[in-house]
Symmetry: C2
Subunit: 560 residues, 2 copies
Amino acid sequence: MPNVRLALAQTNPTVGDIEGNSEQIFSAVAVAAARGAHLVCFGEMALTGYPIEDLAARPEFLESAEEAVLTLASRLVDEGLGDIAVVVGHPALAPQNTQRESERLSEHDWSIAQNVASVIREGEILGRYAKHHLPNYSVFDEYRNFVPGDELLTFEHLGVRFSTVICEDIWQSGGPVAEISRAKTDVLLVLNGSPFELDKAGRRVELARAIAAQHSCEVVYVNLVGGQDDLVFDGSSFSVSKHGEILVRAKAFAPDITFLDFDAIAKTGRSTETEAATHSQLESVWQALVLGLRDYARKNGFKSVVLGLSGGIDSAVCATLAKDALGAQGVYGVAMPSRYSSQGSLDDAADLAGRLGISIRTESIEPVFKTFQDQLTLTGLAAENLQARIRGMILMGLSNSHGHLTLTTGNKTELAVGYSTIYGDSVGGFAPIKDVPKSMVWDLARWRNAEATAAGEIAPIPENSISKAPSAELRPDQTDQDSLPDYKLLDEILELYINQHLGVSEIQAKGFDGAVVSKIVSLVDGSEWKRRQGAIGPKISGMAFGRDRRLPITNRFKSH
Amino acid sequence: MPNVRLALAQTNPTVGDIEGNSEQIFSAVAVAAARGAHLVCFGEMALTGYPIEDLAARPEFLESAEEAVLTLASRLVDEGLGDIAVVVGHPALAPQNTQRESERLSEHDWSIAQNVASVIREGEILGRYAKHHLPNYSVFDEYRNFVPGDELLTFEHLGVRFSTVICEDIWQSGGPVAEISRAKTDVLLVLNGSPFELDKAGRRVELARAIAAQHSCEVVYVNLVGGQDDLVFDGSSFSVSKHGEILVRAKAFAPDITFLDFDAIAKTGRSTETEAATHSQLESVWQALVLGLRDYARKNGFKSVVLGLSGGIDSAVCATLAKDALGAQGVYGVAMPSRYSSQGSLDDAADLAGRLGISIRTESIEPVFKTFQDQLTLTGLAAENLQARIRGMILMGLSNSHGHLTLTTGNKTELAVGYSTIYGDSVGGFAPIKDVPKSMVWDLARWRNAEATAAGEIAPIPENSISKAPSAELRPDQTDQDSLPDYKLLDEILELYINQHLGVSEIQAKGFDGAVVSKIVSLVDGSEWKRRQGAIGPKISGMAFGRDRRLPITNRFKSH
């Protein structure tokens, strides 16, 4: 068995920053070479970032990517790194003769690109693999954007036979993946852009084990890392032997280069370690949210965020996430009391800011509210919404004046049932906890406090913000449970309706009250128009609001 | 040749209103029967409305549609209409053994439905055709939502042989449509959910002619009509003979039942009439916008709209559209002057309201602006945005108090370059002219005025609103051209960048100034986050903002 050292290069690209991403790739190859690597494998579309969406339809974009691959190849030779095999993901113009058989669009020549892995060596492109299975479900639109490939790429490097596939290809049967054994593959390189989802990491490992066993080869799984709009790539690249042993494991939620010595593989045996052992669920979610927020801010040029601090749990968790993402100096809190705000809420907000060491200012909404009401005299819900909208206007004014990214602090439960004011508390460019159900917001707060305490630090979130009854404080003595069922019950029903696609009678059959279920389902359906205008935020569940769940606004279907 | 009478039933369904749509279908069959029809053909998904998006993933929804087909079949028999063949579009659970061959999703069992046409006769489902070509480009996600069918359905009724396909099937080569001649088809029934786009109607007719000539059959093209979120189905159903003659043509933008006598077809010859002759482009656009707005309001339960009247051209056109859609009594205009508003603007707004006979009230933004500024003292762009946001707050307050749908009056040019204030002038549930470039807004205004004048009515839009230089009036003596190029030039460049996917250097090569092009492209790219939070509005172009154009917010690619 030859002695070949592989490097799993887990980079954090930015979509469209081809130059910057190329630099990352070059540096990673140089670092890997310095540590003796003979082959370096990157994640899916590491050169352009991922997903590129309809940028795939722009010839200019594809040409820029192609030029960057050639430039990288030359530069590697120029810098004496030409003998290293580099496997890098990028989009490429589909070959002229590639037809999506009978599905090829004649009138609308939309898909002109392929999602490929190029193998670079000695300044040349040794081969190119085009992704076969194009995910077109959940947040993915790959059948829209790409033409599928249909051939496995196998190449030999220093006596070892490598085959290359991309992400979804190992999740489906059929296609090039079926050819792995026939191609006498020693090592299968899988380039991935696999976003974080609760409990997904373990499934990846199980899948890689199954492929490794079936095709009797080692599997190297390289994932991207970093936030891209509503997705967070969690990294966690790994390799499994044909015996099922986890050979290496890269960091979660951070760039990493991990090495794997091929001659050491033969010595391995069976392992049953699973990902679950390495990260608790809440820890993973927290890190995903921090990375999603940090990268959205960084990649869009924001150094600071502004958010309202109500004294409640949602804004407390968002402020803590923001501090973890950007540092205390990048977080600007604003307490915006109304006539209905309790002193306790103001105290809790100030307590939070003190614990986090972040800036806080107080801007009463009372003067503007009074002036507005002297003129229009709104009542009921309209008056409640008005208060939220004045707060939104203050936050946007500060954002416009100081260049802060505005964070909106709504959680998934609120977004589901429409318990928010559009153009009010919903204003902002990013929604850090939009995919976190209210029950989990509390869990995260407790987890984060416990972590801090265990580390001998100050628990960031005031106990009072966790334990008190949640209230929007838009009218006297209001609590959320005046208009909504208990959050635990609510979240259970939402899980069944939204994530599991069950109807009212099916949910009722699980022991829930039919009237409550109907009411909740009706609130969810009626809030679609608000969600459509909402900010993006990191997906952590199997069914996030946004492009993961696409429903008409005009929709009279009533689940029954 | 037997004497068979066909009816093209062009209905306006509402997505999800299976009961109401069924009622429409039953009534149309009854009316057609009373006029001697032997076969009635409906549009694509006439039973559930279209597009249903991810409702296709809900078993309960599919079961409800299936039940409705069976109920309709029984009811037709009960009412003595069982001998009529009824061809109706709806979604259906895909047969258990249907596999999307190698593409079938194992892990994510997303597509469980098919997009079908059922043939009902004598209380039974005689046959069912499943759409083969699933559009997955532009606004369509059908490959996400459906499993493709692969067999043509041919049936005989009163001695005539009919075959059935659905919409995209005739726009692509291959698949069931190739079997039409072999099946000895006399009449091809094409069920469509084809949204309005500028200049599309003529292409449909040409395509049907080509199919008719190629397969030597008559082609019956039945389209839906009505607005559904951002789409407007324009109706305009038609039939062409194998000789290319247009046999019948249904109304554009209104429900219709049109009859075609099969024994009369043999007498036809070649015709060269095209759709362009029947509607001017501006008339079609106006009708599409009116129908889109009317149906969004009606299908979502709104009887009235509220909008800001600035005295400018955009709000004038939107108010006129709203009056044409809902009647003058359903339109509530609000003039919201600031310290920078000219008396001329107020006069123009009042003049417009008088001409339209709509309600107008004046709410100065000055008191709230002053109170806010006494507290926060915003300057520059932040202060300009503040004014727009106070207006948004007033409109939403009135909307919340009175149940009006808020209209946002931004045009496509403004949305493209981000010349609007998020949570300010962008607030609203519907954006009537969001896909209309500024140059066309003026054209539409002139066209609508000329139509009125020709009909002896008062021209609705004040000449001054058309002729004056556009201004946001957010600072002294401001005009749009302070920060933007001339609108005609701007629209030409936007057409090339957005609709034609050209890059900066390609646009420059067409004779435009490189610096201007770069600036505009950069404005477009930088406004993606605002557009993501924008209201929906009717698509009239080949590339509308929204689900037609899907780009990342985080995107550092610079066209060059």
